[in-house]
């Protein structure tokens, strides 16, 4: 429970809280980026170096930018007019509180938690590479496939339908 651990934990939680509560979407995105870097720091704390850097690369580097782009593309950069929350937000808050208490309660008095902290595992890039290439080679291939599929899918969905759009527009009922 080193002070640094507490600080990063606090920073991530703060970032997450802001990400969820700020009115301006861009600020949320940035707060989210802060939360992600906080999480990356936590990973480093837990001696998962490679994952930490990957976290920064993937989340902070790519997804944050992606989300920001999406925000711009949907022109929701400016702060919205009236309330930011959906109609049934009370229930949402209640359920999430319930979820947290339940998880917390489960964590706190579950018997499976080991008391002492085992020595820091050595997760060098070499070990990770070996594991990836031997034990987890199939998931790796599949992940490659999934990513390409997702990329193609995303491109198609987000493609600006020029011709059909105009037709559907005309024929459409909007």
């Amino acid at each position: 429970m080193s002070p640094f651990f507490i600080i990063t934990g606090f920073v991530t939680l703060l970032g997450a809280a802001f990400a969820m509560s700020l009115r301006n979407l861009v600020h949320c995105a940035l707060a989210m980026a802060v939360a992600f870097s906080g999480i990356a720091a936590l990973y480093l704390q837990l001696d998962a170096q490679f994952v930490g850097f990957a976290e920064i690369l993937v989340y902070v580097g790519a997804i944050a930018i992606l989300i920001v782009f999406a925000i711009l593309l949907t022109r929701s950069g400016e702060a919205p007019e009236k309330s930011v929350l959906t109609s049934g937000w009370m229930a949402g808050i209640a359920v999430s509180a319930l979820v947290f208490t339940m998880l917390g309660w489960a964590v706190l008095n579950s018997s499976a938690i080991p008391k002492e902290t085992p020595p820091a595992p050595v997760a060098t890039v070499k070990n990770v590479g070996d594991a990836l290439m031997t034990k987890f080679v199939l998931p790796l291939e599949i992940i490659g496939l999934v990513l390409t599929a997702a990329m193609i899918g995303a491109v198609i969905i987000a493609l600006k339908e020029d011709s059909q759009k105009s037709k559907s527009e005309v024929g459409g009922y909007q």
Binding site: G92, V95, S96, L98, V99, M102, L103
Partner: protein, 704 residues
Amino acid sequence: MIWIVKNLWLIPALPLFAAGIIAVNKQPARKLAATLAIGSMALGFLLSLCAFSATLGHHGEGAFREVFSFNWIQFGGQWMDIGWVLDPLTAIMLVMVTFVGMLIFIFSVGYMAHDENFMRFFCFLALFASGMLGVVIANNLFLFFVSWEIVGLTSYLLIGFWYHKPSAAAAAKKAFITTRIGDLGLLLGMVWLYAQTGTLNFYTPEHTGCLETAALNTMLAAPPVAGFAVVTAIGLLIFLGAVGKSGQVPLHVWLPDAMEGPTPVSALIHAATMVAAGVFLVARVYPLMSIGGIIGAHGVPVTTSLTVITWVGAITAIFAASIAVAQNDIKRILAYSTVSQLGYMMMGLGVGGVAVGMFHLITHAFFKALLFLGSGSVIHGCHEEQDVRKMGGLKKYMPVTFAVYAVGMLALAGFPLFFSGFWSKDEILHSAHNWPVSHIPFLLGCTGALFTAFYMTRQVALVFFGSYRGHEDRSAHGHTAPDHSHSSEFHSHDPHESPAVMTVPLIILAGFAILLGFVGTPAWPWFDGYLTGEEFKLDFSKLAEPGTLGLMVASAAIVFTGLGLGWFLYGKRQRKTVAEKDVLEAAQPFIYKLLENKYFIDEIYEATVIRFNAFAARLCDFADQWIFGSAVLLVKYVTVGLAWLYRLTDEYFVNLGFDTGCEALREGGGGLSKLHTGRVQTYLRIIGVALVALIIFLIWGRKA
């Protein structure tokens, strides 16, 4: 296998064929019908003569017997084959039936000339002839039974020929039903016989027939059933058929009533042939009857079935004879005389064996046919008048009829030496005399002979002597029911002689009535030898033997006393008026009344059998109505109840349950669909709650 045996079937087939054509014929071609019928009988007679000649000349080495049978129907794996046999018994009957039939056909041409149903009459007659001939030639009890039924059917049709007369219809029905009761016995016997021997053929080339020794021995060996030996039981059952058909005591009631039919019918069927069929049946299955018993005097076997037959025959003889004495209808007298003579024949068979019975049958056939036809021409002459009290003095009007009628009367009564009746009756009495079992049948036979002579002289005296009593009451109370549809106005009021076509057959029959006697005299027992195939030779000394001579003198005496008594009571003091009381009635009113009403047998039957029948009918009706009816009702109510139950369950449980179930489902579905608002957040919330539930479950699950 000579040709005649193979073509024996032609004899019954020809009349059948004739009957067919007559029946099919649309417009009433009387001449065609008559020629066809008579022609077929003539042809049949010729063929019969050929068959008869084939069977002659077999003295010494047993009777001639040729069998021809073919596979008829197949049931199960077995072939049922039927066929015909030619032996002396068949030959003699064939000749008799065809000859007598032909004569009666000729007679009925004249008799039925005025009747518009001429075609139908001849069709039935031809059909009857074919049935009778079928009975005669049958080598298979089944074929015998089929023809027997045809004969029964035609007798019903012919008795009820004038069906518009209620009494005729009733008489036909009565005849049919009573014979049917007898036939039932015959059927049971037949089935049992088949069961026992496995075949119904009387004789087969391989000697496996049911009347041959092999089959008879197996039957003998069979265990007795209900106290009777199998053989006697079957014999008695078959005899029951004969009783029904030949009108023996318990089942004789239909014969007198059968006189409702036209006279040729009575002559042919109820005198010569059909009633003789019963006797012929017993003669045919005689080996069955005579097996197993001890051999009495003169080689005549004595078995229980033969004793039963004898007793029944004797009782019937005396019983019918006594009734005949007190009858006033000319045909009814003859009918009862036929019944009594049949009794004699049965007794002859029982005590004397086949030859004795058959000889009396043949002779009786001729003179009884003669008497009936005679009475027919009398009735024809007296304009359909049947009551003897309204006749009298017909000697003057119908000399020919009177002459032949007298011959027939004397033959029937058994006038010694010249008439066939004397010889055949004497044979019977002779054998009855020698019957080891008991003497009573002999005594009954003699009294019967006395009564026969008495009532015949009474009848002749009342009909032919004295003055004609027909005119008196014609005007008094007119015609009862019109016998014929045609009016009787164009008739002259006096009785008239019948035309030649009717008198010629009478004369021929009279000739035979006389001549036939000599065939079976003790001196020259040709008939006996012919039937049994034994050796015999002409030997007048036989007549002089003490036994036969004494018996002949005794019977002659009985006949003379009967004749004299009859003449004394009726011949000398002729009755003057119709309404006058009968002499006997005056003497013994009570007995006369008893006899006239036929011992009230009909009434007794009426009281017992008919009532029982009615009661049974009512019982069945009651049962049908209440028990079965109620059962049906019950079933109805049960089904209705069940249907109601089904509807109920269907309505309330299934439908209701189903509907409520569907309703609940729909509501549930509706509720659930409300859940799907399309708002993503609600889904997430639900997932959150689900997550919580999962966690709880996992933790508690782990703890438990």
